[in-house]
């Protein structure tokens, strides 16, 4: 630890996070969501869709199946129960059952079939889960094998500079491929395909390769496959493994995690609170969905990236830095509860402080170093400023450069590169190149600067980090006092208030019945997948 932070206070923060998470866990264990059930359907290998003239789009079979059970009031048993029974009754595979449902156009009802013996249904469901999750394990092994044959820029000790993470967002997956490969050649280690702005509120995953989006490209299984394949080729060309990331967030959070795992994505944005605060997605829905998503990530060794960078875009960054740290403790706890190791927790942070505040760069260093010290194993994801970017690209380029320096100085794990054209448009190819070139310079030129720096005892940086830790402990205590559900309602984060039963997607939350069966969840929880 480089800063003199009180270890007892850090330990107290973690203890309180455990307490806070307990209420949530109790709620999770009594409920499921339509998205979690659809994830199970997808893990059975059902990835198809049919063209629905009503929405003028493809509608996934996973939705068709779960919708039907919901209509028939049968979902409380879980989709695995009904699918396993159908497989037994019809002597068909899950994919064949799905095809049959579409063909019969509403006439074939899963919940109207004769029931097999409970023990047989359970056995069949367990076998389906074992197969579906086994496939994820194989994908993970495939990734590890591929990385072994190449240079891996990721350094678990954070002595090497952070991974360079850039975004592509053309709206057209094929155009995104061109830009992603260009970025990789210019030094990018991680490619994020920014999602179309509407997608977080769709309660189904769009299907197939897509060429139009708003502010980004739809997350679809086919788009994932196309981009991962292109990056595999580029990784081999460069002799360096280039990672791919997307967004396990919104109403389809666990399905995106599932599909991403099936297509061997490497990182996922996956936050336990973000959807609640910034997308007004129902609290219960989000907590249940993030748990399943993270279980899938843990199995697949997908790094999660949390979204604390967003907090301070709404709340004042200098006064509210402790909200970021408090949320990181909570995100860490929920990730641990989902079998994740610290090594895969890309806890996010970005401070968004007013650049004209005196000594603001010192405050930036204080918070970045503090986060490094408190979460020593986590590949922290450090993000550049966006809130104070106003179109003066020359200033923005320098501003980003300072963030690059702070990032390498404090040993961050993943560095989201700032673009000079932030707040103007999605990056032009040349903008991304400029950003990568300056980052290559700063990361190379200051690679060992952190090892040379000792912070002054009781200096401004140390005192500031102590203050942020103290404030976090206070906030966590306050959250614990009323419980997290109530605390969020009382605006404990980002000056946003949300209600337990409000927000989008609440209708998709249901209480598990006595006969609820979900061997996917059980095997993920118990790590029984092989």
């Amino acid at each position: 630890m480089k800063l003199a932070l009180d270890r007892k206070k850090i330990a107290d923060c973690r203890k309180i996070a455990v307490k806070i998470s307990k209420d949530v866990r109790k709620m999770i264990d009594r409920h499921s969501t339509v998205a979690q059930e659809r994830s199970c359907v997808r893990l059975m290998g059902i990835d198809g869709a049919y063209f629905n003239p009503g929405i003028k789009q493809h509608y996934p079979l996973a939705n068709v199946i779960v919708d039907q059970l919901q209509e028939d009031d049968a979902l409380e048993n879980g989709v695995s129960f009904w699918m396993a029974n159908a497989c037994l009754q019809k002597q068909m595979s899950p994919v064949e059952i799905a095809a049959e449902i579409v063909r019969a156009n509403g006439e074939f009802r899963l919940s109207k079939l004769k029931l097999a013996k409970p023990a047989l249904i359970e056995k069949k469901a367990n076998a389906l889960a074992k197969e579906g999750l086994g496939q994820l394990v194989r994908k993970r092994q495939e990734r590890n094998k591929l990385i072994k044959g190449l240079t891996d820029p990721q350094d678990p000790t954070f002595k090497k500079p952070p991974l360079k993470y850039v975004i592509v967002a053309s709206g057209n997956i094929f155009e995104d491929v061109v830009q992603a490969r260009s970025a990789a050649q210019a030094g990018a280690d991680v490619i994020a395909v920014i999602r179309s702005t509407a997608q977080s509120l769709l309660d189904y995953m769009p299907h197939g390769a897509t060429t139009e989006g708003f502010g980004g490209t739809y997350a679809t299984q086919e788009n994932f496959r196309i981009m991962r394949k292109a990056l595999d080729e580029e990784s081999k060309n460069l002799g360096r493994y280039v990672r791919l990331t997307n967004y396990s967030s919104g109403l389809c959070m666990p399905e995106i995690a599932t599909v991403a795992a099936q297509e061997r994505l490497d990182f996922l944005l996956c936050d336990s609170l973000y959807g609640i605060l910034f997308r007004d997605i129902n609290m219960k829905r989000t907590f249940i969905d993030q748990h399943f998503s993270r279980l899938v990530c843990a199995l697949s060794e997908i790094y999660i990236n949390t979204g604390e960078d967003n907090y301070l875009t709404t709340a004042d960054a200098i006064e509210n830095g402790h909200q970021v740290l408090s949320s990181q403790f909570i995100n860490e706890r929920f990730a641990l509860d989902a079998n994740m190791k610290s090594e895969f927790m890309g806890l996010g942070h970005a401070m968004e402080m007013n650049p004209w505040h005196p000594d603001v760069i010192l405050l930036e260093i204080a918070r970045a170093q503090m986060t490094r010290d408190i979460f020593p194993k986590a590949p922290l994801k450090y993000m550049p400023p966006t809130r104070h970017m106003e179109g003066d690209i020359f200033f923005s380029h320098v501003y980003d450069g300072i963030f690059n320096l702070v990032s390498v100085l404090t040993g961050q794990g993943i560095h989201l590169l700032g673009m000079p054209t932030e707040a103007i448009h999605t990056p032009l190819l040349g903008d991304r190149f400029m950003a990568l070139k300056s980052t290559n310079y700063i990361f190379g030129g200051a690679e060992h600067l952190g090892e040379e720096i000792i912070y002054k005892k009781n200096g401004k940086i140390e005192k500031w980090s102590q203050k942020v830790l103290d404030d976090s402990l206070k906030l966590l205590r306050a959250i614990d006092k009323v419980g997290i559900f109530k605390a969020i309602e009382q605006k404990c984060f980002a000056e946003v208030s949300r209600r337990l039963e409000g927000g989008k997607g609440f209708k998709g939350v249901f209480e598990r019945g006595e006969g609820y069966l979900n061997p996917f969840l059980d095997q993920l929880e118990g790590k029984k997948y092989g």
Binding site: T197, F214, T313, E390, A423, L429, G430, L436
Partner: protein, 267 residues
């Protein structure tokens, strides 16, 4: 008619000093009227002498002379990145430029509250939201949140306003319903995402809805966002539009003035 030619600020009166010429306005690089500017772009070909010449040709077609291609780099296979300098052939007649502007005199927080108290005699109700699929609240929050933006208090802080920020991804229908229910005076719409002009479509749809419900004149319609300005707002049928850098007090001044104008017109 004011003088269209004058010495730049603080220039000694010496025959070598060139005058600002409003009839033939040009960028100032290193000397008056030299027209020098920097331009950067990427071409989808690898760097080569031909690529460099192509860049120069593009600059020429843009109306530059005395062109220098100062950087030609290869970001990746099949691309070259250029930084160029040149002197512009073109000039503009500054005296002929007319811009549609928000007609209001900007006032401060205290003055606005004072006038509302005296002239309106009740709180002005403002509802705001980021509409459509746009999920960005940064703009609407900067205008509404108590704390405000750049030291300028947000609308929620004014004693003269009852300001309600509905957040992001609010449908036009919802926003309108809410404004009617709460008997609002003004509707503020923020739009950040501009992909395929969805921000324009969204604003037009809002105004079409207002017309259809016969509520065009019941509310003051204001929009704001990084890709918006007053002319665009007016073209979409709104009353006013604000671009980047707008402070809450700007919006507040406008809404107040428009309230007063409408009050006067009714008399």
């Amino acid at each position: 008619m004011a003088d269209t030619q004058f010495l730049p600020y603080g220039a000694p009166d010496h025959p070598s000093v060139k005058k600002v010429d409003l009839k033939n306005l040009k960028p100032y690089g290193d000397a008056m009227n030299d027209g020098r500017a920097e331009v950067s772009f990427t071409l989808p070909v690898n760097p080569s002498p031909e690529a460099e010449e192509a860049a120069r040709e593009i600059m020429r077609k843009m109306g530059f002379h005395d062109i220098k291609v100062v950087a030609m780099e290869r970001p990746s296979e099949g691309f070259s990145f250029f930084v160029c300098y040149g002197a512009m052939d073109h000039s503009v007649d500054f005296t002929k430029i007319h811009v549609l502007k928000v007609e209001t005199e900007f006032k401060d927080f205290y003055t606005i509250n004072e006038i509302i108290k005296k002239e309106i005699g009740r709180k002005i109700i403002i509802v705001g939201a980021t509409t459509g699929f746009d999920a960005h609240t940064v703009g609407i929050d900067a205008i509404f949140n108590m704390k405000g933006y750049k030291g300028d208090y947000g609308l929620e802080r004014y004693t003269g306003f009852d300001a309600r920020n509905l957040g992001a991804q609010v449908l036009n229908e919802e926003l309108m319903d809410y404004a009617v229910k709460e008997n609002a005076d003004a509707i503020l719409v923020s739009q950040i995402v501009d992909e395929k002009d969805c921000h324009i479509d969204n604003l037009k749809q809002l105004m079409a809805l207002a017309e259809k419900r016969g509520m065009r004149d019941r509310f003051i319609f204001v929009c704001g966002g990084p890709r918006l300005n007053h002319p665009i707002a007016v073209e979409c049928g709104l009353d006013a539009g604000f671009g980047p850098g707008t402070l809450p007090s700007h919006v507040a001044s406008y809404v107040l003035d428009e309230m007063l104008r409408r009050k006067k017109a009714r008399k």
